[in-house]
Amino acid sequence: MVWIQGSGMAEAHPVGFRWVMKAKERGAKIIHVDPHYSRTSALADLYAPIRAGSDIAFLGGLIHHIIETDAYFKDYVVNYTNAATIVNEEFKDTEDLEGYFSGYDPETGTYDRSSWMYEGGEVASAAGQREHSTQAFSDRTGAGMMMGNVESDETLQHPRCVFQLLKKHYARYTPEMVEQVCGIPRETFLEIADTLIANSGRERTGMLVYAVGWTQHSTGVQMIRGGAIVQLLLGNVGRPGGGVMAMRGHASIQGSSDIPTLYELLPGYLPMPRAREGEVTLQDYVDRGGSARGWWANFDKYIVSLCKAWFGDNATPENDFGFPWLPKISGNHSHFTTMMRAMDGGLDGLFVMGQNPAVGSQHSGLQRRALGHLKWLVVRDLADLETARFWKDSQEVKGGEIRTEDIQTEVFLMPAAGHVEKEGHFTNTQRLLQWRDKALDPPGDARSELHFMHHLAKRVLAHYAGSTDDKDWPLRNLHWDYSEHGQHAEPNAEDVLREINGYEVATGRHLSGFTELEADGTTACGCWIYSGCFADGVNQTRRRNPGNLDDPEGGWVSPEWAWAWPANRRILYNRASADPDGKPWSERKKYVWWDEEEGKWTGYDVPDFPAPKRPDYKAADDAVGMDAISGDDPFMMMADGRAWLYSPSGLLDGPMPTHYEPFESPVDNLLYPKVPANPAALVWDRNDNPLNPPRDPRYPVVASTFRLTEHHTAGPMSRNLPWLAELQPEMFAEIDPMLAAKRGIEDGGWMCIVTERAEIEARAKVTHRVRPLEIAGRTVHQISLPWHWGSHTTSEQGVTGDTTNDLIALSGDPNVSIEDKAFSCNVRAGRRHNSSTARLAHAVDNELKLSGDHGAEEPEKAGQRGDSQHPPELEDE
């Protein structure tokens, strides 16, 4: 079974969907739950339309149903999850506090999470402090958690054990409630729930596929948590055919979090150091990030080896391996806060590479305006695009709200090489690093990103070579020695991969994997989780041997096809594919098991467990490091070795997913009437970021966005190509016939979509694929909008159109600062009269509000907002 929710996989990942179709041909059931009836829905055995943003109600319904019908995989849940663990007496649930968990501070809109901890567990010291959007890394892993005194009840009867808390928390998430909140008929809901259950247990597994349809919500992280809880209850993690598949937004997005373009992470999910007292020295950093228990006890080896890779011989024990000179973060430096900082005149320059924020980022009207406040802007892309032309022919310039001559930004547009014109590897959603060679030279001045960054770095390093300023230490001491080839001095991408793999400093020998890493400066490694990708001096990511796929003994695992992190392991936590005694749960789902004769773990894949650790090994209460992980605790990256049904730490907005409405919703929160939206979510309450008030009768329609197969993200790679442009020539909105009739909108005719931020026009695609939903006794209409169009094309046969992201406000999930892409709007027939974001012109505050402590980096929390007055009742639409 493949359960797809929050993803239009066939639409957005047609090549990956090949395997879903192969599974379907072999009898797998395909389930699709989505607001938008897409090509994915058409191929599914079972499709349920859901109101955009209500997924947690649906997931809570599944959890409720699985528990109520006793359908969870008991042996798995009791032994491998924290179901039995007993939680602090101080903990209060949303059921007790009408929508809040214990610890909520309405002043700051944040939670003091100390009461969420296990009973007897010691809280990591960061908990309870005001966080920005970055949470302490220690939180995520339970690092620093002392487990010695934590109690559990394996009968799952203790009223404060996780299982009972889960049961209580979701008691009201009944099929009837799901129907009322999500608009999914209860028969459909039960059919889906029972299909999931039927594909779980010892003999069967099911997988969950999600994508940005889940992440892009003010409760996005909790949605994914909800999916993970369902998968854990059904025993679908660490087993073949199970798992949670995160479909990525485009190529190598997985790679861009592994070796991150994210502001709060260093390579390999090490936290970015913070400018905070007690976290400044290497020892501080290791103390806070390292865990006494579990795998993260190796934390020091990874950070020291990273510093050795970066600073080479200049990283010594005496100077803490250069750690003190790493940049430190002081708050939320995410995309949105950075752009608002630019808007307010607090940012000089910006590099935009492989991104088109003038079309692809939320509230793109604001993004385009913000670009005009920069002194300089470097854009690298395949073609001229809206982000590089915001000053010339954007909606705002055409509409006269912004005058080109007033913009002082100096824009550099640099031509980039396409993906077949450069070498390197992509990391896909399966954590598979796949190398591809260059097929042809890029045209003209186009160069690879690697070329650009390498030569930029060389010039910057040369510029600072003579500096005596201490802050320039990293530039003077950077280890930068990649070889070059060809007439354009292209750096060797394999040199970079070698550094990422790691080497022994004394000999230069390539490391075979991260278990060789040391904290004494004898090893260097650019990203510990990738260590082994160049083992034996061989580019393992370049392997293309599928092996014997027909071998019934795991031939399908194909371990010699490319290379997967960590340690070429294809399924994470695969020790969970065996029962607590180390035997496969079933012959059918055999994957990794304990070989008593050999005295080690073995199987089709690289076991994700210390090979010689016996299944009956019991950790002593005072054990540390990996010794603290018992032989039947498969989730060894967690301090307690268990998968978390309940998160005692790690999340800023609750230990269990809870249904809140999107910020902009035309309906009440039926489950927690007093708390409409996620109380810990981020809001930037600014004149230039106006929100549609909740339940405002002016905005009765629910909207969400989706991708088309024919176009790629913000469009420069598809709208300029005549062959693709002709396949989807115009921006459109999918709308149900009933709403179209009410508004006088004709199929194929023009219509406008309106929010507080913008009014855009689109062709109407009136179709029964979109259907109105019955929500709590009234009809709610949903529209679906693709978001690929913008104002510029480089080709006569290219296409342009209005930009969906002009409609959407900036808002943030508290954990990761991602926006809410389920929103309210209204629609009308006809075309727009002004530029799409003309209404923003009056809202923009052009005065510069500069200070050291920039306001944009301190977003307000939802709970702080004062709009409690209810607008008039909505009419039945």
């Binding site: 066939a10 047609p14 090549v15 969907f17 090949r18 179709m21 379907k24 041909e25 009898g27 009836y37 090509r39 829905s41 058409a42 191929l43 088309l708 197969t709 024919e710 005549p722 062959w723 693709l724 442009a725 002709e726 396949l727 989807q728 020539p729 115009e730 459109f732 149900d736 016939p737 009933m738 179209a740 009739a741 909108i745 004709e746 199929d747 194929g748 062709r763 009136v766 179709t767 029964h768 694929r769 259907r771 109105p772 046969q797």
Partner: protein, 337 residues
């Protein structure tokens, strides 16, 4: 002279070559249009324009043409509601819709004209008035959204080839039908002779053009571009006889899974039921052929009208028979451009 070319058609023969074909399985098509683009890229065909089509689902290119040799059709099929049932009955009474049991599809009902423009165009007056229905009736439910990649059928009895007076259209050693642009004089006789509306004239130079089943790739032992690009193997390429066996097995498998409406279109039929003597590019369908703009019955006009004749005479006869359809068709295409 092979048994498959009874009418004196011009054929290339090479020792060891065998009939090659396409098996397009609509049950695994995801409507991604990769075939349409791969075809244009390999054959260096221009984007020939599109329009945002009323009632067109995700199909904006509309039809096979001189520059679109693969075309993906989209059919939005509704579960019949009383109103739709009435519309369907009325459509049947008007003699359009063929043997479609539960028309209409939201993507438009096929009609004689639509079939003439096979691959897609649906006249506006044939479209279901969705808004009108919504105003008057309870909401009908979306039932199925169907995708089908259409292509030249490379018929055993190829109407285009039979009609061609210049020998521009020839049968290859793979028993596919290709057009040699340097021989084509642009007479256009082939166009009405194709019962599927596949072949078309290039609006710029007037010569006819259509799918070659990637003859150039086949000569180098490569599979056609569309089949290569298809992510789900909806388009399969191979030796014809093997493909037919594969396809028959697939039908049996689908029947066993409870999809009893699955059948092959253009392959495996008894002689009297064959479509154009069997199709080199055949399809697995789960709906009546009209849903996809395919005729329930079709043959080369020559096969239907003249057992023995010279090629030129046959072309003239074909033109006479198909003349009305042809003018309708051309007008229809012009209207679309």
């Amino acid at each position: 002279m092979s048994a498959r070319s009874p009418l004196g058609e011009i054929a290339v023969r090479k020792p060891g070559a065998q009939r090659m074909g396409f098996f397009t399985d609509t049950t695994v098509c995801i409507g991604c249009k990769a075939c349409e683009v791969a075809c244009k890229q390999w054959n260096d065909l221009p984007a020939d324009g599109s329009e945002f089509r009323k009632g067109g689902s995700y199909d904006h290119t509309g039809t096979l043409s001189a520059a679109t040799w693969r075309h993906v059709r989209f059919v939005e099929a509704l579960a019949p509601s009383p109103a739709l049932q009435r519309e369907a009955e009325a459509a049947l009474a008007r003699g359009i819709g063929g043997n479609v049991p539960n028309i209409p599809a939201a993507g438009g009902m096929p009609s004689v004209e639509a079939l003439g423009g096979a691959g897609g165009g649906v006249a506006e007056h044939e479209m279901v008035d969705l808004v009108g229905i919504a105003e008057t009736e309870a909401q009908p439910q979306m039932d199925r959204w169907l995708f089908m990649s259409d292509v030249c059928k490379h018929c055993t009895n190829a109407g285009c080839l039979d009609a061609c007076p210049t020998g521009a259209l020839v049968r290859t050693e793979f028993e596919t039908v290709i057009l040699q642009p340097d021989v084509c004089n642009g007479c256009g006789y082939c166009i009405p002779s194709c019962p599927f509306g596949v072949i078309d004239r290039d609006p710029y130079d007037g010569r006819a053009a259509k799918c070659t089943l990637c003859y150039d790739r086949l000569e180098d032992g490569l599979e056609p571009a569309c089949a290569k690009a298809c992510p789900t193997d909806s388009i399969q390429f191979g030796p014809y006889d093997e493909l037919v066996e594969t396809a028959k097995g697939r039908v049996v498998a689908l029947h066993e899974k409870g999809i009893e409406t699955a059948y092959l279109y253009g392959a495996g039929d008894a002689p009297e039921q064959q479509i154009a003597g069997n199709l080199g590019a055949f399809f697995l369908l789960t709906e009546p052929p009209e849903r996809f703009g395919l005729p329930a019955q079709a043959d080369s006009p020559i096969q239907e009208n003249a057992p023995v004749a010279t090629a030129t005479g046959l072309a003239a006869a074909a033109l006479a028979v198909a003349g009305t359809v042809a003018s309708m068709l051309i007008a229809h295409r012009r209207a679309r451009r």
